[in-house]
């Protein structure tokens, strides 16, 4: 059975991080589980946590009065869920729901922010890695704006 430190170290977002940083990050982490259909977090609520999915799938949902609920992205094992804990006003911008039973590592955002304030090098390292996650998601969103399947495709 892997320890939290090992699980964190083996994830792509934290891969290659110095051991002392991993240890600091693991100090703010705990294992959590969500049943199928359970909300991981709700739009507008305080964003004080982020998650590393170990098993299952999490759907990011937006709700509009005229279109109902829309799943805009999903996170699978190895993916990070949430970055609103990094930036004021520390509120979630959408719902996240377990579409099947989920096992994840939850990280206490306030705890991590405190450690980053104490150690700017850790803060830079963490910010650099989350920036990559955000850039990937931004690029994916831009790509989907092209609506490539909506136009005339191959026959």
């Amino acid at each position: 059975m892997q320890t939290l430190d090992e699980l964190i170290a083996s994830s792509s977002v934290f891969a290659g991080m110095p051991a002392e940083y991993l240890s600091l990050i693991a100090g703010c982490a705990r294992n959590v589980g969500f049943e199928e259909g359970a909300l991981v977090f709700r739009e507008g609520d305080a964003a004080d946590t982020f998650y590393l999915v170990r098993r299952g799938r999490v759907a990011f949902e937006l709700h509009t009065p005229d279109r109902g609920g829309l799943v805009i992205e999903t996170a699978d094992p190895g993916d990070v869920v949430g970055w609103s804990w990094l930036f004021p006003p520390y509120r979630w911008h959408f719902d996240a729901r377990a579409t099947e039973e989920v096992r994840a590592i939850a990280f206490d955002g306030a705890c991590l922010r405190g450690k980053c304030d104490d150690d700017p090098a850790l803060g830079y390292e963490l910010m650099r890695r989350f920036a990559q996650v955000m850039i990937d998601r931004l690029q994916h969103t831009r790509f989907r704006l092209l609506d490539v399947y909506g136009g005339v495709g191959v026959s």
């Binding site: 949902e61 799943v71 999903t74 092209l146 609506d147 495709g153 026959s155």
Partner: protein
């Protein structure tokens, strides 16, 4: 009906359509239909990757890839998205209606060249239609290949093609089939995200894998980049291209892409032949 190419077929020339009757018409999505056509005379016998020119009488002719097997009776299977006058006319045909068919044209998916290694098939939207015969071929000769992975992308769950057959593929233990859509209503339990996000986790060995890719051009560009990043050599990545094919035999030039004529030199190309051309904005 004559299933093999007859002397008459050889002399009638590639520009003369042969009559086929619509045997069945099945709805795939809100705008996509699959027609099964049975020959009323000579049969054309497309192989996986090839296309036929389908003529809706009085409306016009369009290139449509074969999306099924012709079995022993020479019937054709074509999956058509209704996006223009000709495709709308074809999709609206009733059983018993007659269409003209020329073909088969173009080259095939290089299935023989992939034997012995892993096979990765990536389809976006209606790009699954030209790939379905290749997937069926690989699954029916499963021992010929190593790992087989099929990655499918679509706009929404309602735009997924061949839903029942894809479910059958997913239930197999000897193939990995993964599906993602660009957006879905709450309640969809599958993946939402780009088809490229499935590539890092595909259970194939880049050292031996061959990839077949079909979908909108911009999707294929991103897929090829992701495959190269995964470590697949460019010479083992194959794409099916579409342009405005008219004659089917490289005479008219309508389907020219740089130095290539898609109907004659393709539609299946090695990625290194196409990537540079696909990134030229003016082409």
């Amino acid at each position: 009906m004559a299933v093999s190419a007859s002397a008459e077929a050889q002399t009638r020339g590639v520009m003369t359509p042969v009559p086929y009757r619509v045997r069945s018409r099945a709805s795939e999505t809100a705008d996509t239909w699959t027609l099964e056509l049975e020959p009323l005379g000579d049969a054309v016998l497309p192989r996986a990757g090839q296309f036929d020119m389908l003529y809706a009488h009085g409306v016009g002719e369009v290139p449509i890839s074969t999306s099924g097997d012709h079995g022993g009776d020479g019937h054709l299977t074509h999956t058509i998205r209704a996006v223009g006058p000709v495709t709308r006319a074809l999709c609206g045909l009733d059983e018993g209606a007659v269409v003209g068919v020329r073909g088969p044209f173009g080259n095939e998916w290089p299935l023989a060249g992939a034997v012995g290694g892993d096979l990765l098939v990536i389809a976006g939207g209606i790009g699954l239609a030209p790939l379905r015969p290749a997937i069926r071929h690989a699954l029916s000769r499963r021992a010929d290949y190593g790992a087989v992975a099929v990655l499918l992308g679509a706009r929404t769950p309602g735009d997924l093609l061949f839903v029942q057959e894809v479910e059958e593929w997913r239930s197999r233990l000897d193939a990995e089939v993964d599906v993602t859509v660009d957006a879905a209503a709450v309640g969809w339990h599958g993946r939402v995200g780009l088809v490229t996000t499935l590539i890092p986790g595909a259970v194939v060995d880049p050292a031996s894998a061959t990839a077949f890719v079909c979908g909108p051009e911009i999707m294929m560009v991103f897929v090829v980049r992701a495959l190269l990043e995964r470590g697949l050599p460019v010479e083992r990545i194959w794409l099916s291209m579409e342009r405005n094919m008219r004659c089917g035999v490289g005479h008219c030039g309508h389907c020219q892409l740089g130095p290539k004529l898609i109907c004659r030199d393709g539609p299946v190309f090695r990625a290194d032949e196409m990537m540079e051309l696909m990134e030229v904005r003016e082409l």
